[in-house]
């Protein structure tokens, strides 16, 4: 059981990265971005592409220290982040913003994002095919931890990266002018506008950050499991439940929700098939709806 909880924390750490971006986008852009999962997939595949291209350089392929991956993969984080952030911003420019300007019902944006999700996923299928891929082959190094837990060194890396990012993000939101402005726009966009804050500019920032976090979450998920075209979409339902659980718009909620749901999903594999994890997330949501719909840290 401890082992399952530990794995749940690993999964939860990845979910947190996805959830932060998602909860921000729901709060600030005011619709449910169904393309969020596929942005994660995109990030994972771009990293796969670039690390594959770098495969020629032997020195980059050798694992760094106890980890399975080499500098090649670490370097490929950068193009993955840049491309995914760019795509997220472009989606906003070309699709979400026109809808916003037209003051269309939010459900139209929901639908449009679903269209973009399939578009993106279709592209990935067409370019890379439906097979599973891995960032590296071979046996993964394991580490023995107290309480009878064994984790892969990669999993420790995943958690370290995720939590480091959370810390950076927290500092960004509380110490920088842009971060505070983002929070202001999330809180009260009309007032932000009246104060002279460019809401469009902030929305662009938000999509860029969301995309970047998606890319990182996608790569980490690819390291943890495998790379496949459906990976992001399958993650989406649990991510939505996470932000509902934590309360839409609450970054703290995303943190708590992500960990809780990660652990719950992982622990459920003791009794259920792993493939049921999204269904478990759904079950959590049903309970949430019955007991406390606004979530743990929900606002308005």
């Amino acid at each position: 059981m401890n082992q399952l909880i530990a794995w749940g924390l690993v999964l939860g750490s990845i979910m947190i990265l996805g959830a932060i971006g998602l909860t921000m986008s729901v709060q600030i852009a005011r619709f449910f971005n169904f393309a969020h999962g596929d942005l994660m997939t995109l990030g994972a595949y771009i990293a796969f592409l670039v690390s594959g291209l770098l495969a020629g350089a032997e020195s980059l392929q050798r694992g760094i220290g106890p980890f399975s991956f080499g500098w090649g993969l670490l370097l490929s984080f950068i193009p993955a982040i840049l491309v995914t952030a760019a795509v997220a911003i472009l989606f906003d420019r070309w699709v979400y913003r026109p809808l916003r300007e037209r003051k269309a019902l939010a459900s139209y944006s929901d639908m449009a994002s679903m269209g973009l999700a399939f578009l993106l996923r279709g592209l990935i299928y067409v370019v890379w095919g439906a097979d599973y891929h891995f960032y590296f082959k071979g046996v993964r190094a394991m580490v023995n931890l107290p309480l009878g837990i064994r984790l892969r060194t990669d999993e420790l890396f995943i958690m370290a990266v995720a939590w480091a990012l959370v810390a950076v993000f927290y500092l960004f939101l509380t110490r920088t002018k842009t971060g505070k402005a983002l929070r202001a726009v999330a809180d009260n966009p009309d007032l932000a506008r009246v104060a002279g804050i460019s809401t469009e500019g902030m929305i662009t920032w938000m999509w860029g950050i969301s995309g970047a976090l998606c890319a990182i979450a996608g790569i980490l998920y690819g390291i943890e499991t495998q790379i496949r075209p459906e990976m992001g979409w399958l993650f989406l339902l649990p991510l939505f439940v996470t932000i509902l659980l934590g309360g839409i718009g609450s970054v703290t909620g995303a943190l708590v929700g992500g960990l809780v749901l990660g652990v719950v999903q992982q622990v459920s594999t003791r009794w259920l098939l792993p493939t049921y994890k999204p269904a478990v997330a759904f079950l959590v949501m049903v309970f949430l709806l019955l007991l406390k719909p606004e979530g743990l840290f929900g606002r308005r």
């Binding site: 699709v95 809808l99 973009l116 578009l119 279709g122 339902l237 049921y276 079950l283």
Partner: protein
């Protein structure tokens, strides 16, 4: 030499599928077009309708068949009972989801419907005892099968589907012009005002959602008995939900004729891309070819939303004052 028989055959099967999808579209139109409820899990109701009808109309496997097919329930009832069962169970599912989410903000319905669709698909896929798991059920009975020679059976089925489509269409057209329909439209336009007017908005939303669910369930049953075989892989988000959204949006949200038109157009686009892709794409990449449809239909939907959100026909102006 032009193969008239072949062309006719193709047209008939095209029409049957387009009509079935038109029924799905009409159901979604009640929920989304009339009342503004975003059902992103149409596949759930499609699946429940199909599976319920299948389980009701087939016998429980016995003898050597039982080794191959696992099926928990088999009532061996006639086709219409199957359709009725599909309607009821689909409606019940709609009721449950509606009770759970319709009092809450919009997003809860969207996510809940996605969740239930995924959960149902996973369940049928991984619980072989219920309905044979990933292999699904085959040999579903076709209504009135003995009436015509097998070669002409699909003409008969087209007739059956058309009857259902017509009944549903006219019922909805009547409904939208009734006081009930007016309230639904008012709810979509401005919930606060409809609420202030004393109508219980929640009840109307619930009714609308259940009606839509029932219609989609019926469509599911018709699908099942046409293809005579169903498996969980049919009810994916793309084939079971997204394509229907594309149909409704393309044809004209809020317009029943639009729903039907959209179904035919998108289904035609579907068949056409199948054909083109089969010819153009080299053999080695054929496995990837179906996903070109993801790109295409996704693009179509986004473009319509941006350029012509009303769809081809657009919403009807109803002659009624609220």
């Amino acid at each position: 030499m032009v193969d008239i028989g072949g062309i006719l055959s193709f047209l008939v099967s095209f029409a049957i599928m387009a009509c079935i999808y038109a029924i799905f579209s009409l159901g979604l139109n009640v929920q989304w077009g009339y009342t503004g409820l975003g059902n992103f899990g149409v596949a759930a109701f499609f699946a429940i309708g199909a599976y319920t009808s299948a389980l009701i109309t087939t016998p429980k496997p016995t003898g050597p068949l039982a080794d191959y097919v696992d099926q928990a329930i088999g009532l061996n009832q006639p086709f219409l009972v199957g359709v009725l069962g599909a309607a009821i169970f689909s409606g019940l599912l709609g009721l449950l989801i509606g009770l759970l989410t319709l009092r809450l903000r919009r997003g809860y319905l969207s996510i809940c419907t996605i969740g239930i669709a995924e959960s149902i698909r996973l369940f049928f896929n991984n619980e072989p005892w219920l309905a044979n798991g990933p292999e699904g059920l085959v040999g579903l009975p076709r209504p009135l099968q003995g009436l015509v020679p097998p070669a002409y059976y699909h003409y008969l089925y087209l007739g059956i589907v058309l009857v259902f489509l017509a009944l549903i269409y006219f019922a909805l057209e009547k409904g939208i012009r009734s006081p009930w329909g007016r309230v639904l439209r008012a709810v979509r336009e401005d919930e606060i005002m409809a609420d202030a007017d004393g109508k219980d908005v929640f009840l109307f939303k619930l009714q609308s959602f259940v009606v839509g669910a029932v219609i989609i369930g019926i469509g599911g049953a018709l699908y099942a008995h046409y293809s005579a075989a169903i498996q969980p892989g049919l009810f994916t988000p793309f084939y079971g939900t997204f394509i229907i959204w594309a149909m409704l949006t393309a044809g004209g949200t809020g317009n029943n004729k639009g729903a039907i038109l959209g179904a035919f157009i998108i289904w035609a686009l579907w068949q056409w891309t199948n054909y083109i892709v089969g010819k153009v794409v080299p053999a080695g990449l054929q496995t990837r070819a179906p996903f070109i449809r993801f790109i295409l239909i996704g693009l179509v939907l986004v473009l319509i939303l941006l350029r012509r959100p009303r769809g081809i026909i657009g919403e009807e102006r109803h002659v009624s004052k609220f």
